[in-house]
Symmetry: D2
Subunit: 394 residues, 4 copies
């Protein structure tokens, strides 16, 4: 451990995702031996009082009040972008042009054109890049991937995936940045539908065509701001129009012939964080649920007749990807470990000179699906991914 090369991280932003990333950098060397190791070098934020507190609390060695300053610093190797979506492109491109490696929160950008420019920039400047779709890195999801790759499910027929939340159901929950189109691009769609379509691409492959629907149930809300996690506080006075979607659902066909059904919503009461999928193949099926994220349900069609049924596998064993680094079987891990595992991949990529999946190319492909769904909502009909004109070039 002592001899690992240090990768000096500069993180832009410091709230919910900033906390998750900071923790992952701190915990990574405790659990894994990687060739390079992250150092919490500097964090940037516009509000000096708040960014200083955050830096202290989370263990960053220094802070900046301008992200451009962070990119100028010679003692930064990796820029980590955990800011609202409308800032991703500018920061990522600047970082790439300054020769920094880049990791960026999802969705990659406000739209496909931005995402493609970002991909162009990281490629041109030959820096390592990743997008932070952390749920790919739950051991149970990684194990699902392994089973599919080994052909244990056979040809895939179906994926159905939901991401159900309920944190904005109260009409008095304020109009925070996550509900303002100019900042976020879309609502539920880019925030959590993005996660399940990324999981689908990871596990089932590329999309061919989609048709969707989106809706905003609460059209107007009091003004306010996020305060950390998924909490918010009201500001006094006026109301504002909600211009992003509360829910997004779409049907899909994959290039492989598989069919997909996707639904994301923040209006599914009782579902605090219902990121769930089921995949059915000719030889077996799997089910996963983030709220019990250590478990994978696996059905194998060639199990002995009479003994067929979904197995509940607690993916905490050495046989399950990443799990061996943590605790003995049955001693579960949680949400934050998905980030630790992802950062392990990032460090491996930086050490060995490749951009691990999911990277900016995945970000572009995901953005193309998001945008194709939006286009299908406008046109009220199916949209082929190949119709997404810019998408042809990557």
């Amino acid at each position: 451990m002592g001899v690992a090369k240090k990768i000096r991280v500069g993180m832009v932003g410091y709230r919910f995702m900033g906390k998750a990333h900071s923790h992952a950098y701190r915990d990574l060397p405790f659990y894994f031996d990687t060739e390079v190791e992250p150092v919490l070098q500097a964090v940037a934020g516009r509000n000096e009082v708040e960014v200083k507190v955050a830096a202290d609390k989370m263990g960053w060695a220094s802070y900046e009040t301008d992200w451009k300053r962070l990119i100028e610093r010679k003692d930064i190797d990796l820029i980590d972008i955990v800011t609202p979506n409308n800032t991703h492109a500018e920061i990522a491109i600047a970082a790439a042009e300054a020769g920094k490696h880049v990791i960026c929160e999802k969705p990659l950008a406000m739209n496909l054109e931005q995402a493609q420019r970002m991909l162009h920039a990281v490629r041109k400047n030959n820096v390592v890049h990743m997008i932070c779709h952390n749920y790919r890195f739950a051991p149970a999801v990684q194990f699902a991937k392994k089973l599919i790759q080994e052909g244990r499910l056979g040809k895939i027929y179906h994926i159905r995936a939901t991401y159900l939340q309920d944190w904005i159901m109260d009409p008095n929950f304020p109009l925070v940045w996550r509900l303002r189109k100019e900042v976020t691009g879309s609502g539920t769609h880019g925030d959590i539908a993005a996660h399940i379509l990324d999981l689908a691409r990871f596990l089932v492959g590329e999309f061919d065509e989609v048709v969707g629907m989106m809706e905003t149930f609460i059209k107007e809300r009091p003004i306010g701001e996020m305060t950390g996690g998924l909490n918010a506080k009201l500001e006094a006075g006026s109301k504002g129009k909600v211009d992003v979607d509360d829910t997004s659902a779409f049907l899909a066909r994959f290039k492989s012939g598989a069919l997909g059904v996707f639904e994301a919503t923040r209006f599914a009461g009782g579902n605090r964080n219902g990121n769930r999928f089921e995949i059915n193949g000719e030889k077996g099926s799997i089910r996963w649920d983030l709220e019990n994220m250590n478990n994978l349900q696996v059905y194998l069609a060639d199990d002995e007749p009479g003994l067929q049924g979904f197995r509940t596998i607690n993916c905490t064993e050495e046989h399950h990807p990443f799990a061996g680094a943590y605790w003995p079987a049955g001693h579960i891990i949680g949400y934050e470990h998905t980030f630790i595992n992802l950062m392990k991949e990032l460090m491996n990529g930086i050490s060995r000179g490749y951009s691990p999946n999911p990277n900016f190319e995945d970000g572009v492909r995901n953005q193309a699906v998001l945008e194709a769904v939006e286009k299908s909502v406008e046109t009220r009909s199916w949209v082929k991914l190949e119709q997404m004109s810019l998408a042809k070039n990557y």
Copy 2:
């Protein structure tokens, strides 16, 4: 009991649904006191050897080898149609014109036009009519309806429903009538998507528009026939083309503003009979799963903070519709009881002169949704229910 008026039933068909209906008629008076009681008067089938065995086994007093003869008989009050879909219209219309009450298996017909003629016939002849969407009659589903009607969930935002099976995944499962368009009209769509859209209409209300996709994964199969239940036997030799869907999925908007996501498939390995739904309203959510059909999961948003979560309610108490007739709390009932409960409603309807829901009007409305989905598949775009031209007239 002793004094109840007898309703003499003539049933056309005698396989899977014939068994379910026969049992329900036999068991109804044991559990419920109804003003009129069914008598298993006669069963009709073309194969005399088989129909005689079935009549003996299931307790029918007599049999006919021609359903027309059944309708002519004066000692029959109610015609029960459990034959393949392509025969429903002719039999039902003939029965109605002979002044018999009619209960018909789902889907009501091969298409919307047929369904509307059937509705017209029962109305014109003033006979009682029902369609056999039995899952409405699980106590947990009835209790769900009660909660929604009482406003316990508030305004409904979402329904997501699946009907997942796996009994034809083997490519050597034969090409039985349920897989032949000329007999069945459609495959998974009319057979099991029909059930979940009926549950949606029951619980959420009328559909406004839909867009769907359908697919046939196995295009050719060996010839064969159903042998009871969902079993089949191969015939020697040749193969045939599968001309119905293996899966059907669709997005929907309801007139109330609710959104729906529906998926039915026979290619979801490990899901023997996965008829499941979740409904989210502003004040609460419910979940149901046929494979544990006695349970209803209920989430109430006004539960005390910290104590919020889905309750697993075993709907076997006197507080749950129909359940009080059976066993003490915690002593579960099964699939067959949904038919007993339905037949209780039918007997009440006949006794009091009304057609209980779901009746032929529901059958027509369900058929319109089925057909709108099919039309959306052809046109690759959303279809309004009001576009279903014939549907205007009912």
Copy 3:
């Protein structure tokens, strides 16, 4: 079916268990082909008004107001005893001496001495006998037995079983016969601990020694009577002392070397009918829960590493004992079907001249365990089954 020999049943008693048995006799020929078939010939009860209503409702051809008259009748082949426990011995012995076959509700008797006299009577008179431990006959439990018999679990190390209910937790629930020692012998112990120890004997084998505890939480209750199911009505006025146990728990060693932990209670709120067990063997484990009685959870230690976990098997397939007679896979059955399956065994026994398990010998062995636990409570120490002096003779 038409040619099956008829077994004319005379049933003594007609409440909760009377309903369950009557239904089973009615439904048996619908689902199964047996060599002999039950006929609901006559039911006996002291209250003529009530017994007449019950006979009409449940389909008995006649009734008697004195059970002795039932035994005298030449047109009765089988006596079915569903009366309170303090009457079992007298009725069963009289029936046996009259040459009638006998089926008796559990527990077999008020004590071991009575149980042994009953066994002696049926043996001496060479009649077929059974005790109605219906839970053995859930398809999932039968499948568990098959797995164990085939050695799929290997040597058994552990059984832990609970029977948790909550129907008398209200201190105002009245002092019904099930809570009066002179009528019932014991409380929870003989009523539901009896069921789980019978399942243990069925699945794991004979008990060697036990040590237990029993408790009565509510010492005094208002007077009242059962009204059907597990319901009761209060009588006006006075209170009475509860002289039976509200709960019973015991540790056990089996002759095979397995260990058992058992607990039965009527004070486990939220557990309407929590009859559950888990068995662990050197090669695998199984779990069962009556409230989801169609499912068996099965763990097999030789499953591939990484893919090990409990399988949820919905025991509704043709591969599962008894299940093929009912509905297609995934169409669940319920509580009442355990009685139908049991009666099928009884009919087979009568037809072929043997007493199927569980029979009066099982009843005696179960009674010995019940009594050994009671003795251990008195002596505050372990009691060997072989110490149960009378138990030596069977």
Copy 4:
């Protein structure tokens, strides 16, 4: 955060528990603001190569090869004991006499006499002390405690608790220190039965009397050693006798009148870490399972009739103790967080001068229960806690 006083920790031992404690010290300041903060000052172990690697890997500033040296060091404020059980007493007493605060892994000692001497030492020297029963600190368990303290369950009738594992079922799993009486005192009993009886004392109160059974299924094993987590490696050659229990089960009565049923085993295949309990009170019930440790099942008897059932509460909300420091609702935490929460309590205790529960007094009381069970096994009869002679003095 910068101004928090530092508590310099010296940890003796560095394997499974050493990893868990080290991580907790590192993570504590990230999640919580405490008045004092731990510093990973020095770790001790006899094997210099291994302890050096461990110190590097886990972030300890220095190491010692003799625990006595650690206690002599002036720059150590807190001694943390994560060594095998036969060393706890000597180290803890020496630490206390050197004026160091002490935290010790469970079980506190090899026997009650040792445990009492340890308690005497920490009291006499007025140092803060804790025993590491970490499962008390799962947010769901803390929330359970809160519900019970608030009277939400009413008078407690029952607790049933199991701790089921399967990691030594293979007869070739070696005879490691955890299976050798001279090192560990007992097997399953002190290792995991200790955890569930501690949870029972935490939630239900003090034990009054117990009766138990213990068994060793595999009497002889090859020699070997633990290698971290619950893994082990074989040494070449000879076998040794297993002189500790593979399983331990006992019945209990509590001083409050509640009844308890406890079972711990390492021979329950498929149960990787099945630490589970259910508690039933007059007004409600709760259930918890370590493998889904974020969830608490809660049943409230005063829920509206018809709507009664266990609620599945994901205890990840601000309303749940400790949970607010981590992630938004539905983003689960894991095993390691129980240690972080415990260490928060310890730091509070050190800061404010008290010994938080569970402390050495709890350790003594737990040891008395363990020893009473062992005595009951010898005497084959119930043992009163008050009979544990030394136990009188604390």
